[in-house]
């Protein structure tokens, strides 16, 4: 047999990789599942915690509320971290309807809409309370635009209830529900939803809202936050923020430069900037959310690395005889350490994927327990979880490698 003479380096590493994976599979399923399960579980729980905390951070950043196809956003300069910590409402923009109208008149601007976000409750026909939803008020223009992750198409163009600031126009009663909101309210298109405690001018009760469409049924929705999109002035009336025409932000569609210029002219002291994609990048726009996310990241990496180092080190210690046998059949140190590293990384990656899944489940559980959307999911959480687990494993892997390199073949084969 002319072994070792014609063998290629690639074939050698391919063989060692196969050997690692086969051993890992058989150990997980047949010969030693408990040790493998311990490692996978440790990583999975850590990553699940990371995903849940990151979901909370993203929700803090207003993730879904920022999910829009607008080009420019105007927000209060002081908005953000500290008012949230103190429990005080964040600053809002005033005279938003008037100034949005001014912005809309500028060249290069297609549309501008104030956006008001309030957490509120809607009642179904049987009067039952299904928990809070995120009420988002906008001024649609008949074009297909997306605010808070929900298309505005289902709303009647304009904002007739505003009536040039008198708020005595006839409410349209339109509401567009995101799929999670429809699920939560158990509502479908054409259903009527009551607004508890809402009154029109003159103390008359606000007529019920009618669900004009449910969005996200095609499965494209990336968020599980229940969103109800309504006309701005109607939400301002529900929320009592109509006197000063308050809104959280103003979104502007059009040529970015023209839109930014028009926005800066209308609100010279506000923060004007391009709109993110409403995903994880929103974290960087909110100090508290960013701090929460970073804290989760650091803690996740530290704990995950500790778990991987400990469990993988124990596994290698238990596997010393096998390493000695590999040495006795001619596998050099590089090959043996490669097998240990690959086994450790593969196990951790399995834990990461399981952890990401558990994290998504955890976010749902947290939202159910909290009774509101305090955490949100995003598809990028999966590669994020895998990346974090990989980084933690790379930090941890020197320990099992050190344990492996200290294995004495003579001690092991002489036992």
């Amino acid at each position: 047999m002319e072994a070792d003479r014609g063998g290629s380096r690639r074939e050698r590493w391919r063989g060692l990789t196969e050997l690692s994976l086969v051993r890992l599979r058989n150990r997980a399923t047949r010969t030693g599942p408990r040790r493998t399960i311990a490692t996978v579980t440790a990583v999975a729980l850590t990553i699940a915690l990371l995903v849940v905390l990151t979901g909370v951070a993203l929700a803090l950043a207003g993730g879904v509320a920022e999910d829009t196809d607008a080009d420019v956003r105007i927000a209060p300069e002081d908005g953000g971290t500290f008012s949230s910590i103190d429990g005080v409402e964040e600053p809002r923009l005033g005279e938003t309807s008037q100034r949005s109208a001014t912005i809309r008149e500028q060249d290069g601007v297609d549309h501008a809409s104030p956006v008001l976000v309030e957490t509120g409750r809607l009642e179904t026909g049987d009067g039952s309370d299904h928990g809070p939803v995120l009420l988002v008020g906008v001024v649609p223009d008949g074009e297909s635009r997306t605010v808070a992750g929900v298309p505005t198409d289902g709303l009647e163009p304009g904002d007739p209830h505003y009536a040039d600031g008198s708020y005595d126009g006839v409410p349209t009663g339109d509401v567009v529900l995101s799929e999670p909101a429809a699920d939560r309210l158990d509502a479908e298109e054409g259903d009527e939803l009551g607004v508890p405690g809402a009154h029109l001018e003159g103390e008359s009760t606000h007529p019920p809202l009618t669900v004009t469409s449910v969005e996200g049924e095609d499965g494209d929705s990336e968020s599980d936050v229940p969103v109800a999109l309504v006309h701005l002035s109607e939400l301002q009336t529900f929320a009592g923020s109509g006197d000063d025409e308050l809104a959280d932000t103003i979104l502007v569609w059009g040529e970015p430069d023209a839109a930014a210029s028009a926005a800066a002219d209308a609100y010279p002291n506000a923060a004007v900037g391009p709109v993110g994609n409403g995903g994880p990048s929103a974290l960087f726009d909110d100090g508290l959310a960013l701090a929460t996310g970073l804290l989760a990241l650091v803690v996740g990496i530290a704990i995950c690395a500790s778990f991987v180092a400990t469990t993988a080190g124990m596994n290698v210690d238990h596997d010393r005889t096998a390493l000695a046998v590999l040495e006795s059949v001619g596998v050099p140190a590089s090959g043996r350490l490669g097998i240990v590293a690959l086994s450790t990384v593969t196990t951790a990656m399995c834990g990461a994927l399981l952890g990401a899944a558990l994290g998504f489940v955890g976010i749902r559980v947290v939202n159910v327990v909290a009774g509101s959307a305090v955490a949100t999911t995003h598809p990028l959480f999966v590669p994020y979880a895998v990346g974090v687990a990989l980084l933690a494993t790379l930090i941890a892997v020197p320990y099992p490698l050190a344990v492996a390199s200290r294995t004495s073949v003579l001690e092991e084969v002489s036992r």
């Binding site: 047999m1 072994a3 063998g7 060692l16 050997l19 030693g32 006795s328 001619g330």
Partner: protein
């Protein structure tokens, strides 16, 4: 009946050195080894030194089976480990096919072991998470042999040792005798020139041990085989018995 097809696959240009007699596969000359002194001065100060081998000289030709006998601690296993390159003796030379492996680096020694030495342990030392076939193919992985060739070679060897129906079984699903036969097949995977076996029947009953000895006899027809054992039946299959006591050779060929 185990098939007697364990002969060398072909005559090879396996002589790695040219100074020794052409037919001498293993040569130990003036080999002395002490434990407790190899870890540096501080370790030497702390640990008492144990002399495992004292000026041992030994040869084994191709086609010859040499038995090592002696009480526990007499140095039998240390000689096998020295031949396999698993340890480097404190003094003396260990030549495998004319190459003094004490002068090689760890990497070179590992490569020489992979190419030229097969090891059979008393306790089999099969990897528990691999099938019998994968265990046999293990030495071929590092040799860079393609997967299909590895499987084919391992299947043939398992068939040769009478385990064709056990290829996919894990070691935990095999008897002791079957495990040792798998271990012998693994030792033959790279078609080595030298086989060392440490108490190959030590864990087996008499009948199973006989089967394993029959295999070793067959294996040794065209290889150098060095067997360490307390067992008279095992030593009876050897061509020559070297008796050891306290690390020294008391008799050679007795």
């Amino acid at each position: 009946m185990i098939q007697r097809v364990l002969r060398r696959s072909s005559a090879r240009d396996s002589q790695t050195g040219g100074d020794s007699d052409a037919n001498t596969a293993v040569r130990l000359d003036g080999v002395t080894h002490s434990y407790g002194s190899a870890g540096g001065r501080l370790d030497a100060d702390r640990d008492p030194t144990v002399i495992a081998l004292r000026d041992v000289a030994l040869t084994c030709d191709s086609g010859e089976t040499v038995g090592l006998e002696g009480p526990s601690g007499s140095g039998k296993s240390t000689i096998l480990h020295a031949i396999a390159g698993l340890l480097v003796p404190t003094a003396g030379s260990v030549e495998i096919l004319g190459t003094d492996i004490t002068r090689l680096s760890d990497h070179e020694r590992t490569r020489l072991r992979r190419r030229h030495v097969g090891i059979v342990f008393q306790r089999f030392h099969l990897l528990p998470s691999l099938s019998a076939r994968a265990n046999v193919a293990l030495p071929l992985v590092q040799a860079g042999v393609p997967r299909s060739t590895r499987r084919e070679r391992a299947t043939t060897l398992l068939s040769d040792v009478g385990l064709s129906g056990r290829a996919t079984h894990l070691p935990s699903e095999l008897s002791g005798g079957e495990c040792q036969r798998v271990a012998i097949a693994r030792a033959l995977a790279t078609d080595p020139d030298v086989i060392v076996a440490d108490e190959p029947t030590g864990e087996l009953d008499t009948e199973t041990g006989s089967t394993v000895l029959e295999l070793l006899t067959d294996v040794g027809s065209d290889r150098a085989v060095v067997v360490a054992s307390h067992d008279d039946d095992t030593l009876a299959i050897t061509d020559r018995v070297v008796t050891l006591r306290d690390g020294s050779v008391m008799s050679d060929g007795g």
